[in-house]
């Protein structure tokens, strides 16, 4: 395949996969939603879960975005240093977003700051947002597509604590944010927490925590235990689907960390809504793809 053909194929794959991510929830999220719905019996909670599953079914039948808020598109890229299109990825992903916006369609969601004009094609200054991880000695690329609506981005926050506030300060921060803003963010929520030495590192890790499969745990035993404690605690609060109260609040709680400064404990929080639209695709050097997040997906 010549370079131009490869480029076109890469754009087509990523446009199709971006659109796909807007229609279908990933396997782990769908399985968890079903598990949570089965535990509810109050009429308000079951009415909401019934609406959610009906919506997903209709979205699949009609090939439409399951939620109208298709987010400002973010791509988290793990690219092998020998991937043949490494120099083209940025341009290709912008083209893919434009293509998906027209084809599905996606909602026009990019407003230029200061000009306050909607760009009308979901591409704008530094958007789609790209996060890069370079993987030495590989020739393939893995890309997460993530579309977060405004509603589940609103609880997002970061705070730099003084160390003597300790991990207790982290726990209080998370609970205060979720009980204050969580009900508007379309629960059951996936809660991402970053702990690090400064606000931007903690924030970025909190978003990366949302990319982890539901049911996975922090590699540190204390981190894993804290995830479970916060998950059980938030469930006990019982936000229920849509905040109408119920037996649970969350799809999961994921923590990611980086070494901190001795004088700071920074905590970042990101939340994902029940319609957690996270897709993961692997594309090899011959531009064959495999969708890892949705088993059996054909684009």
């Amino acid at each position: 395949m010549d370079q131009e053909k490869m480029r076109t194929r890469f754009i087509d794959i990523m446009a199709a996969f971006t659109a796909y991510t807007g229609i279908y929830l990933p396997d782990d999220v769908l399985a968890k939603l079903k598990e949570l719905a089965a535990k509810e019996d109050a009429p308000m909670a079951t009415t909401f879960y019934d609406a959610m599953f009906k919506d997903l079914e209709m979205a699949a039948t009609l090939s439409r975005p399951c939620c109208q808020d298709t987010g400002v598109i973010q791509y988290f890229i793990q690219v092998g240093t020998s991937f043949p299109l490494i120099n083209e990825i940025e341009d290709c992903l912008a083209a893919a977003v434009k293509q998906a916006t027209a084809a599905l369609p996606l909602r026009h969601n990019v407003v230029e700051v200061f000009d306050e004009k909607n760009t009308g094609n979901n591409v704008g200054t530094r958007i789609p947002w790209l996060d890069w991880e370079i993987v030495p000695r590989r020739d393939d690329v893995k890309i997460y597509v993530y579309m977060a609506g405004g509603g589940c981005s609103l609880p997002g926050a970061a705070k730099v604590l003084m160390p003597l506030e300790g991990y207790e300060g982290v726990v209080s921060f998370v609970f205060d944010q979720i009980t204050s803003y969580g009900i508007n963010a379309c629960p059951p929520l996936l809660v991402g927490i970053g702990i690090a030495g400064s606000a931007e590192v903690a924030s970025k890790l909190s978003k990366k925590a949302l990319l982890r499969p539901i049911g996975s745990h922090n590699h540190n035993p204390r981190g894993a235990a804290l995830e479970t404690m916060i998950e059980e605690g938030l469930n006990e609060i019982g936000l229920g689907p849509g905040g109408v109260t119920g037996r649970q609040s969350v799809l999961g709680v994921h923590i990611e960390q980086a070494g901190r400064h001795p004088a700071t404990i920074a905590v970042g929080l990101s939340t994902g809504c029940w319609a957690h639209r996270r897709g993961l695709i692997k594309i090899d050097a011959d531009l064959r793809y495999e969708v890892l997040s949705h088993k059996g997906a054909v684009l």
Partner: protein
Amino acid sequence: MKTKTLSTPIKDEDILELSIGDIVYLSGHLITSRDDVHQRLIKQKKPLPLDLAGKAIFHAGPIMRERPEEKGKYDVISIGPTTSMRMEKYEKEFIAATGVKLIVGKGGMGEKTAAGCMRYQAVHAVFPGGCAVLAADRVEEVEGVEWLDLGMPEAIWVLRVKDFGPLLISIDAKGNNLFEKNKKRFNEKKRQIVAEINQHVDYLE
């Protein structure tokens, strides 16, 4: 939890019969109005291009598709509710200025809106968040669009709907606010739960 149907124009007596926790289905006119529409009417004092008295507004930014063969005519692709709390700043004044009777959105609204609902006989209701294709299915026709210069999500979309719901009444005209009540309950539980967890996280050396 009672189930009722409402049709526009909505009368004050229909509103006064509703209580928080009721489920309602709407037929008639539902008009999208979110951040920029509230800002234009209340802060910038631009007159609205249509009459909302007795009607319902929807805090929503839809995905619409213009018919290729019929310019200016749109079909709704997906239209779920957006976070109502964003409109808290202006909603009371908005109700007073327009005479709107039913406000549909997602999540709760605050004290100011609840006071507005009580004073001007209006209610706030939530449609299940994210259920945008389900909502689109209940739209019979997109009758028109105004203020499209604001962009697709922020424009005023005039929809004719049938059996639009389920809509859960979250603020009634009698001073009750379902989500504020829930929030109090959540916060009471929180104190105890956080104290319990914090007995196990003394990781500092």
